[in-house]
């Protein structure tokens, strides 16, 4: 995300500029928190180093918080008595975002911008080159801080939360449909999400197709993956008559195996899809989004509406709902249950794959465990909405998405998933059937 394109406009419109400066700060802080805590954390012994020195007119400033974000997740350090700080990072030849938390500076002091062009001088993008070391310096002086009002932060988080929620919905609708029709709590759904992102990477980066061709191919292959899983594994197991608990543990084993197969191909690091660091644009008021965010939301909404129409209107959609309601009755009424389940796996695979591509842009980056890092949020969304109900999964996802983003206004960013998981436990306590679920589903 760069701000070069907006700076010339800002120079002319000062007041609006202040707001935008503030918001850009929030956006950066948000991107800095994007890599969820479930992702592997940078470790103490990481080989490469980002360091710097915070001084005010030659005098060191102690206790200033610096956050470094990039491969390995966000890390925060404070400057020592000499004003120095250093962070060990896991990867070189990678970009990191360094943010200085201005609220930890002494009164009346801020990061100033010497060139007059940088709208967020307290945030710097650095590149750790082949040498593996880079130093970052901020110019500190008297000036206006780049803080932002609570309301602006809230609006920003809600919009980001909706984006995240729509992405989650794509993944959770599939999980919910599979549960509704087959009774499987499919832990390997997370790997179907990762699979979509990996296929998009394969065709856009490795095979160098344009991304708008690569994504549909990835979705098609994800659908095929869902079909293969059903034909090759789940249908034979249904025939064999395994119980739902056994099926659940089989899906756990499958999830473990697939996860490490992915890691064998892409390693433990993060890889990027093309265009993952887009320009941000001023949408309305104080809200800034990137093209990727807007496209992501648009695609999610279109796909979800199309899916809802399919489920509501089409013959096979009606059959799906019937099987979800009561498989034996559906079967007795002449519905081909196996056929419906096959379609459900295909749809579920396609939706999860698309969700994976969007998740890769939202994080941003592709990692071998990117799917499993949101698996519990997907489950939370599905249970919140009501297990086995497709529309419930949509509502649950939006709630979880907004909740996760907004809750980080009050709680530390690395605890933001906790809010969603606590809600999951509470909902089971007070309304175990979820928002749209029916009471008799719970035994």
């Amino acid at each position: 995300m760069t701000h070069a394109s907006t700076t010339t406009v800002l120079a002319r419109r000062r007041r609006l500029g202040t707001v935008l400066i503030a918001l850009a700060g929030v956006l950066f802080a948000l991107w800095a928190t994007m890599n969820g805590p479930v992702a592997a954390h940078a470790a103490e012994g990481d080989p490469y180093r980002v360091s710097g020195n915070v001084q005010l007119e030659g005098a060191p400033l102690e206790g200033v918080a610096i956050t470094v974000d990039g491969p390995g997740g966000p890390q925060t350090v404070e400057t020592d008595a000499d004003g120095k700080w250093a962070v060990a990072v896991p990867e070189r030849n990678a970009d990191y975002t360094v943010t200085l938390d201005e609220s930890t500076l002494p009164e009346g002091i801020a990061v100033v911008d010497e060139s007059g062009e940088d709208t967020t001088p307290n945030v710097k993008e650095v590149h750790v080159g082949p040498g593996g070391r880079v130093s970052v310096n901020f110019f500190i002086g008297e000036g206006e801080r780049h803080t932002t009002s609570f309301f602006d932060q809230l609006v920003e988080r809600i919009i980001n939360g909706l984006n995240f929620g729509l992405m989650l919905a794509l993944a959770s609708i599939g999980l919910s449909l599979v549960y509704g029709t087959t009774g499987i709590s499919n832990f390997a759904h997370a790997e179907m999400v990762t699979f979509g992102a990996l296929m998009a990477y394969l065709f856009s980066v490795v095979i160098s197709l344009p991304i708008w061709v690569a994504i549909p191919i990835a979705v098609l292959l994800s659908a095929a993956f869902g079909y293969l899983l059903d034909t090759g594994l789940w249908r034979p197991l249904r025939r064999k008559g395994l119980g739902v608990v056994q099926l659940m543990i089989v899906s756990i084993g499958l999830s473990l195996a697939l996860r490490y197969v992915f890691q064998m191909f892409i390693g433990g690091g993060t890889i990027q899809l093309p265009g993952s660091a887009p320009e941000s644009l001023n949408l309305f008021g104080s809200v800034r989004l990137t093209w990727v965010d807007l496209t992501s939301m648009g695609v999610s909404i279109v796909v979800i509406v199309a899916f809802a129409l399919w489920l509501q209107r089409s013959r096979i959609g009606k059959a799906t709902r019937a099987v979800s309601d009561n498989p034996s009755l559906a079967s007795a009424s002449g519905i081909d249950v196996d056929g419906v389940v096959r379609v459900v796996w295909i749809v579920s695979g396609a939706l999860a794959g698309l969700g994976g591509v969007l998740w890769a842009y939202f994080r941003p980056g592709i990692k071998w465990d990117m799917g499993s890092s949101i698996l519990l949020l997907i489950f939370a969304a599905v249970i919140l909405g009501g297990l086995g109900t497709a529309y419930g999964a949509l509502i649950g996802s939006l709630i979880v998405g907004v909740l996760v983003e907004v809750s980080s206004l009050w709680i530390p960013a690395d605890l933001k998933y906790v809010a969603a998981l606590v809600i999951l436990i509470l909902i089971l306590l007070f309304r175990p059937q979820g928002i749209l679920g029916r009471r008799e589903r719970i035994g």
Partner: protein, 328 residues
Amino acid sequence: MDILQILSNTLAQILSPTTIGFVLAAIGLAVHFGFTGLLNMGVAGFMAVGAYGFAISILTFGLPWWLAALIGIGAAVVFALILGIPTLRLRGDYLSIVTIAAAEVVRLLFLTTAFKDVTGSADGLSGFHTGFRASNPLPQFSGNAGFGPWSYSRDQWWVIIIGVAVVIVTVLFVWALMRSPWGRVIKGIREDEDAVRALGKNVFSFKMQALVVGGVIIALGGIVTAMGTNVNPNVYVTSQTFYIWTALLLGGAATIFGPVLGAVLFWVVRAFLSNLLPALVNIGALPFLSGEQAQMLVFVLIGIALMLLVIFRPQGILGNRKELTFVK
């Protein structure tokens, strides 16, 4: 390729604190799942609560190690109660998702930088072994002592002695418990909850007791592991839970010795493969893999083993097919 070195490394794994901790965790899970039918997917959370309760009591509150261990156990009891009250009335698959979520919440709370002073955040905790090692009654010796692959330092032997003693006491305890009237009620709940309720038993209360008993045993596993190594939040991830499940199902969920056998076998096979596969890569026997990929192949195989076990031998090595391990 040094076959003897690989075998020695493999056999040495049998007595490592990690394996002993795994054995205890698997026994606790056997009480939960094998005997009571509770789908606890939060095993890693119970282990983390025990290990952190132990380490924090020593580091932050300066308590002696035996009292710290008791506090770790107490923390597991509290965790079991908090977890059980909302979920034990629900159907099995709900319990599994809630426990997995609760374990993740616990791990994130230990991982966050907000409590770094107490939990050590991503670095975990270390340097809490002084008191435990000072209580070592073994005679002084320098270097390693032992026989064959089982050659350890004085400190390591002390952890092993305590760990194995805890395993023996726990196995005896679970054996006695499961042939008592209490154990028969517990197994009855696994087979048919409604039938037990019809006999006038308070099913919720029995399930809660089982959750607490199993949870304490799992936390003991966390504590014994912590006695031998450092405490790190990256250990207590959901994969850890799945590995313990694999170990339990390998040995036999509804048996007394199944979890012991399963956990030891799990680590022996895992250590063997983690040593063998990279060695095979080095001599060029696996031309498509790098050393790192060979390590990941071990985990792929664990996942496949879990699937095959559940599909083809759900009762495990020692289990009896008649004793249902998976209630439909």
